[in-house]
Amino acid sequence: MESLIPVGLTDLQGVYPALNLAVAGIVILLLDAFFPMRSKLLSAWITLIALHLSFTCGLHRLTSGMDETFFHGAVRMDPFTHAFTVIICLASTLAVLSAPKYLRLRDCHYAEYYALILFSVSGMLLFSAAEELIMLFLALETMSIPVYCLVAFTRDNEYSTEASMKYFVMGAFATGFMVYGVALLYGSAGSGYFADLPRGAASSPGLFYSGMTLVLIGFLFKIAAVPFNMWTPDAYEGAPTPVTTFMAEAVKAAPFSGMIKLLIVAFGFSQAVHLWMPAFIGIAILTMVVGNMVALVQTDMKRMLGYSSIAHSGYILVGIVASVKLNSSEALASVLYYLFIYVLMNAGAFGILILFSHKNKDTNAIDDLVGLGRERPWAAAFMGIYTLSLTGIPPLGGFFGKFYIFSYAIKAGLTPLVIVAILTSVMSAFYYLKIIVAMYFREPSDPQHPAAFSYEGYSVFLIAMLCFTAFGVIYFGIFPKTPLTLARLAAASLIPAP
């Protein structure tokens, strides 16, 4: 028996995108120890540079089509992983861009913030690369634990700490199920590698299918599918808004990567599919209906976007089910495209909230936006673009994302599911348009003293983020070719063309 696991230089080079981020995080912590006064903005820059390096590395590997395994097959860097590296790094960059001013206004601009983000992202990148159950679990926890801390980052704020506590308790609860599922799977198959798992189904189906269910429950919790969604609104509302941005994008996209890989590689054989697919269809319907319906009655924007993100998980589940059923990489590519657009439009919507958040009070209620269209036409126009895209109005990206997913679902014969999806997305128009109505058409309740909108959260970072997302939502909606081509490259590595 060899002594432990030998780690070679090639292995480390292979996981460069994740490693780079982890090292940057450690550097930030050290810098903060040595130069506590100057480290804040510097760490923001270091974070951005590190994310950028991983981003370009991922993009480069994606276009060059690199597909290798490392660490004895525990990590596989294939185009699918690279695509998620790109999406997650982009999402995190957007979240980091929105943070500095917000934190400074609240006197909690600490370098640890960036270190935590970096650690979490490095976990996410490994998450999408994992080909082995233990690796998967480690990556999941590396991703999650910093996020629990981040939610409580404005520690003087009781909502923030309460949210963190709830999130943590529920997260631990879900993790328990998942670890148990991992153990059962290992027990049935005698191996942790995804590719070996189907063996377990033949030898001891009882263990295997229970394990599969429990592991999937862990994922469904992370993507906030109904009924495992309860933590989402509370955590989104309580967390500092830049952290909410981070959670709604990166922390949302990463579990999808792991789940898609697991579903296709380990649970992609027909008996397993017959079991999990009906359940997933039911969950997708529940998720879309409950998410959109409860969002209707929300008055707080962050909470509303929380429910909306639950609903969007439902749409993505539809896409996943359709691509497994069709066994088509094109369909899977549409899921990736949807995630990409979702990241852009959601980041933008939260960005506007950050732009107008005051020192002592966040601008979160929909009523706070009344009159924005008249006072700050540019900001209102941007917000209009994001909300219209979230609703799915052409020619914005959100429309085409939904359009591709739904058309593949119809091709897969899931017409009833698509009907539910479209009806619920009509429902969603109601609460998204509420924002536009508030901005442009509602009169302030006290006409003598209309709300003053000061750009208290203004920073160059944030403006850059808003411009990029607004541009992206429009541009990649009208010209979806580049992201779609890349997404097809990525999807083809997971579902080879027949």
Binding site: K166, S210, L214, F221, V294
Partner: protein, 639 residues
């Protein structure tokens, strides 16, 4: 050669800049950008025109084509955004951008004190852009975009001073009446699509030239239907009977708008459209005859109403309707070249007349009633002389441009024979209209510039000649209106690749008609001069002795009231009924659905208690349900 899209892009760029950043810079910059952009378009169009004449000696090659992008692609229906620049669109482009530029410059002076200065120029640039899309479009669908776009701009500009209810409702009227016409246009377009499978004018032309030999009565009927439907659209946009009623009211807009949109460019879109589709109209003699008859009738009818108007702009408005009638008469009898030629000269002299009247109104502190003017000759020499040129041109006095274009139309009408009205009848109507035109223009001119001033002392004190930004365009337009007639032969040659060379008429008929039409013009002018200068008692006597007729004319034959009592009332009743249905059936259904969903959301949100224990319970329920569903409890048998 310059790519055609840049002709359109210049005004769009200027209007976007002014719209987004206009409040950061001064009025001067706004004006400079707006005017500059139109001039850039003009220069680009002129450049292309020269290129076309010089480089492409082969007549068949005289088109420049610019495929911009594919717009709609559904099944076999393809609607690309293709721009085409042939002699016809060249003429239109030059008029739109050339006259448009002069009017832009004029507006800088005219609107200088208006608080809506920036908005005005944004609308004007938008109009120019849409108008250029209309004339450059190769595809009828794209043409329709421009068609609707100019309608929108017209609406916005008529109601420019929208705080006054009268202006706002005039804009609304224009918009609504145009919708009626647009419906016809749309139906015609869809019928073309159904019959030919394409909306591209170039393709249509080829299809029809190959199919023309195999015409059956049925296909002639189809062609007639299409042409008549399209003509309904043209009567709306170009203010012909029965849809002309909006144009006089449209004078509520600022005067440069009346000059640009409601005289020189937009209202001629109908004529342009028929000329563009002349090969289609050639298939249907009946439709062409209807066009000619309606045109002739409108020319006469509007001229009669023009006799009894006292508002200076209203007279010019009815005169525009009447002149548009001439153009339709020309295209109806197949004299497309002369129709377009009259369109061109009319653009010059009518823009000149409107701008001149604007100058007068500006000087009279907003007074528009001719009864309170008079004697302005002394105060405003530039306006006076240029206005004189315009009046002589429209009255058809040799050697001004109006004479040439009107004379050719009358000649073509005389020689034509249509299934509806004979050539002689058309000619007689046209001649009467020409006489009346000269008469009411003489009346307008006399009342405004000659005699003693009838204005109040207060107003009199303010009378002044207009600034150079207004005077300059007047002079330039006067030169064009005076001299354009001599370009007739070159114009014919230029347009011959599209319309062919018109047949040469017998010499004696030509001379006779020239003499008659000149005589009509001169008598008209002379009579009005005599009556209103020497014997002002005559009109008064006529109005008392034939008061019923005069009332009738002055009230525009009560057409507005007739429409109000019939069409509008019917539509209004239909509106009340549908409103009731909407309110009590549709709305309730929607509200109940929405209310039900909200209630559902409200109930569901109770699960979100905020208590972690509750969450865990739901989580567990979910786990159990899934375990049950996914066979963890009942594993499937091994295969």
């Amino acid at each position: 050669m310059i790519l055609l899209r840049y002709i359109i892009l210049a005004p769009i760029a200027a209007l976007l800049l002014n719209l987004l950043f206009g409040r950061f810079w001064s009025k001067t910059t706004t004006a400079f950008l707006a005017c500059g952009a139109v001039f850039v378009s003009f220069a680009a169009a002129a450049n292309n025109c020269v290129y076309m004449i010089r480089k492409l000696a082969v007549p068949e090659m005289q088109t420049i084509f610019d495929p911009v992008f594919s717009w709609i692609s559904v099944g076999r229906v393809q609607v690309p955004v293709d721009l085409v620049f042939d002699p016809l669109s060249c003429v239109m482009c030059l008029i739109i951008t050339g006259v448009g530029f002069l009017i832009h410059v004029y507006s800088v002076g005219y609107m200088s004190h208006d608080p809506g200065f920036r908005r005005f120029f944004i609308y004007l640039n938008l109009f120019i852009a849409f108008m250029l899309i209309l004339v450059l479009a190769d595809n009828l669908a794209l043409l329709f975009v421009g068609w609707e776009g100019v309608g929108l701009c017209s609406y916005l500009l008529i109601g420019f001073w929208h705080t006054d209810m009268k202006n706002a409702s005039a804009g609304k009227k224009a918009f609504v009446v145009n919708r009626v016409g647009d419906l016809g246009f749309l139906l015609g377009m869809l019928l073309i699509l159904a019959v030919f499978g394409t909306l591209s004018v170039t393709d249509l032309r080829e299809l029809i030239s190959t199919a023309a030999s195999a015409m059956t009565p049925a296909s002639t009927a189809v062609a007639t239907t299409i042409c008549l439907l399209l003509f309904v659209g043209a009567t709306g946009k170009s203010a012909q009977i029965p849809l002309y009623v909006w144009l006089p009211d449209a004078m509520a807009g600022p005067t440069p708008v009346s000059a640009l949109i409601h005289a020189a460019t937009m209202v001629t879109a109908g004529v342009y459209m028929i000329a563009r589709l002349h090969f289609l109209y050639a298939l249907s003699p009946v439709a062409s005859a209807v066009v000619a008859a309606i045109g002739a009738a409108t020319a006469l009818f509007a001229a009669v109403i023009g006799l009894a108007q006292n508002d200076i702009k209203k007279v010019l408005a009815y005169s525009t309707i009447s002149q548009l009638g001439y153009m339709f008469l020309a295209v109806g009898v197949g004299a497309y070249t002369f129709g377009i030629f009259h369109l061109t000269t009319h653009a010059f002299f009518k823009a000149l007349l409107f701008l001149g009247s604007g100058s007068v109104i500006h000087a009279m502190s907003g007074e528009q009633d001719m009864q309170r003017m008079g004697g302005l000759r002394r105060y405003m020499p530039v306006t006076y002389w240029t206005f004189l040129v315009g009046t002589l041109a429209i009255a058809g006095i040799w050697p001004l441009s109006g004479f040439f274009s009107k004379d050719e139309i009358l000649l073509s009408a005389r020689l034509a024979s249509t299934p509806v009205l004979s050539g002689a009848a058309l000619f007689a109507i046209g001649l009467c209209a020409a006489f009346l035109t000269a008469f009411y223009m003489g009346r307008l001119f006399t009342l405004t510039f000659f005699g003693n001033s009838r204005a109040s002392e207060e107003t009199k004190h303010h009378i002044h000649e207009s600034p150079w930004t207004m005077g300059g365009p007047l002079i330039l337009l006067a030169v064009l209106a005076a001299g354009a007639g001599f370009g007739l032969r070159q114009f014919e040659n230029f347009l011959s690749p599209i319309f062919g060379h018109p047949e040469e008429a017998p010499h004696e008929i030509k001379l006779a008609i020239m003499a008659v039409s000149l005589l009509a013009g001169i008598t008209g002018l002379a009579l009005s001069l005599y009556v209103y200068l020497r014997r002002p008692d005559i009109p008064r006597k006529i109005s008392t002795s034939a008061s019923l007729l005069c009332d009738c004319i002055a009230n525009k034959f009560y057409i507005d009231e007739l429409y109000e009592k019939t069409v509008v009332r019917l539509v209004y009743i239909a509106g009340i009924v549908s409103h009731a249905f909407d309110k009590h059936v549709v709305d309730r259904a929607v509200n109940w659905t929405g209310g039900g969903l909200r209630f559902g959301g409200f109930m569901l949100s109770f699960f979100q208690s905020g208590n972690v224990g509750t969450y865990a319970v739901w989580f567990l329920i979910g786990v159990l349900a899934l375990l049950h569903a996914m066979g963890g409890v009942h594993p499937p048998p091994a295969p």
